[in-house]
């Protein structure tokens, strides 16, 4: 059986306008454009996300706080220029990784060290270059990743089970007393 090992794109989602991004799931895709479209199909088809990012997972550095504490600083002296890194942090007992302030650094490892140093109560941290992001939010109006509104077939009000059962009980009870 043929098999193709495809790259994995990490998905980040914005649950509502004005709220911070958080880590979502992931999609398999060969390129960023199809990754974004597929991420939208999988994670954007309900109004639980108004915007999505996709980032090749190999570019995301993921560390627990303990691992970072044990880190030996990357003393590589390449004349690497500073870039912006996004930082996502899981704090306390929360299940979600949420966006934390960006850092600027010449490498992912340095970015990680700086990110963790600046965060309180950080259990685990992810960093990745801002340049690696493909986002629905930066798309032109030409391609609309318009956030979904509730379709009637995904609305609880379309399935009034409680009311239906109540009606049946009332009918049954009427018949009993008739």
């Amino acid at each position: 059986m043929t098999s193709t090992q495809w790259p994995v794109y990490q998905v980040f989602e914005r649950p509502a306008h004005g709220r911070p991004m958080r880590v979502g799931g992931s999609v398999h895709a060969v390129d960023a454009e199809t990754a974004l479209q597929n991420a939208w199909a999988v994670y954007g088809r309900r109004p639980t996300a108004v915007g999505l990012w996709v980032v090749p997972r190999r570019l995301v550095l993921m560390k627990t706080k303990e691992e970072v504490d044990d880190f030996t600083q990357d003393r590589d002296n390449r004349a690497a220029s500073d870039q912006s890194f996004y930082v996502f942090c899981r704090s306390g007992a929360k299940l979600v990784y949420e966006e934390a302030p960006q850092v600027v650094a010449p490498s992912p490892e340095q970015a990680m060290v700086r990110a963790v140093a600046g965060l309180n109560d950080c259990f685990a941290c992810w960093v990745f270059p801002a340049a690696a992001v493909t986002s629905t939010e930066s798309q032109t109006a030409e391609c609309s990743f318009a956030p979904q509104h509730y379709k009637w077939f995904r609305d609880h009000k379309s399935f009034p089970i409680v009311a239906m059962l109540r009606e049946i009980r009332a009918d049954a009870s009427e018949r009993k007393h008739a």
């Binding site: 098999s3 193709t4 495809w6 992931s26 088809r45 007992a93 340049a131 049946i168």
Partner: protein, 313 residues
Amino acid sequence: MDQPAKLAAFEARIARGETIEPGDWMPDEYRRQLLRMMSQHAHSEIVGMLPEGAWITRAPSLKRKLVLLAKVQDEGGHGQYLYDAAESLGATREELIEALHTGRAKYANVFNYPTPSWADVGMIGWLVDLAAILNQSMLAKCSYGPYARAMLRICSEETFHKKQGQEIVITLARGTREQRAMAQDGLDRWWWPTLMQFGYPDSESPHTATLRRWGIKTKTNDELREMFIKEIVPELKLLGLEPPDPELRFDEATGSWKHGPIDFDELKRVVNGNGPCNKERLAARIKAHDDGAWVREALVAYNAKREPSEVQG
């Protein structure tokens, strides 16, 4: 830290309510159990698209048609979330799919039963998805972070599926004679396979204690089965539908439901590949995968031909 100390620290973390994340130390057995559970769950969702998917083109109203298509799509989505979570433990999707296609990996045995009538769509939605919800609510508090996060999404979507199935059955039960007969026939065929979904009786389940300590399993098989029967039987009876179990009765003394014996030999047969639809369902998945090979190759080839993107970091 040596092994026993690591294990103690690990179990202490779980006892404190912390989640275990990818990259954290974990016992091999924990990793193994979780990978088995997550991949089985993922496979169940994917294979589960087929028995109901077969009825999309024949769904008897516009509402039912769109709802069923959305449901089957959701199941694909659930499989996707779970493959993603399983990959966080080091498996690749290709390996997981190959395990399914070669018969090494298991999936929920309910999906090895045929769906010969429209009522089956209702029964799967109501019975099987209710069973899944009961199992899954437990897992949303699972100690392994990626699984717990996937389960949160899945649980909220699954509540629709159960309602949608129930609405189908309620409508049939209040309908024409043929419709009522169709509903009862569906219940006759789906009752026992659904009860089997909760697994072997507690007396025969050796792993429960460890799984409880590791925050993977918080209720026993029998407890979940009882919760299921307690919720669904009164509602079925209200609709004039009778589960095919002459021994099913509510025992006032213990405040619990008693039911007839579950044929676990049948479960073994079906789980091991000898159910009515195992081969057919797997064959459909293998065909979809094989037929899709040229598509996947084309995407890879297209990407290779393009100039390297400036954002490859």
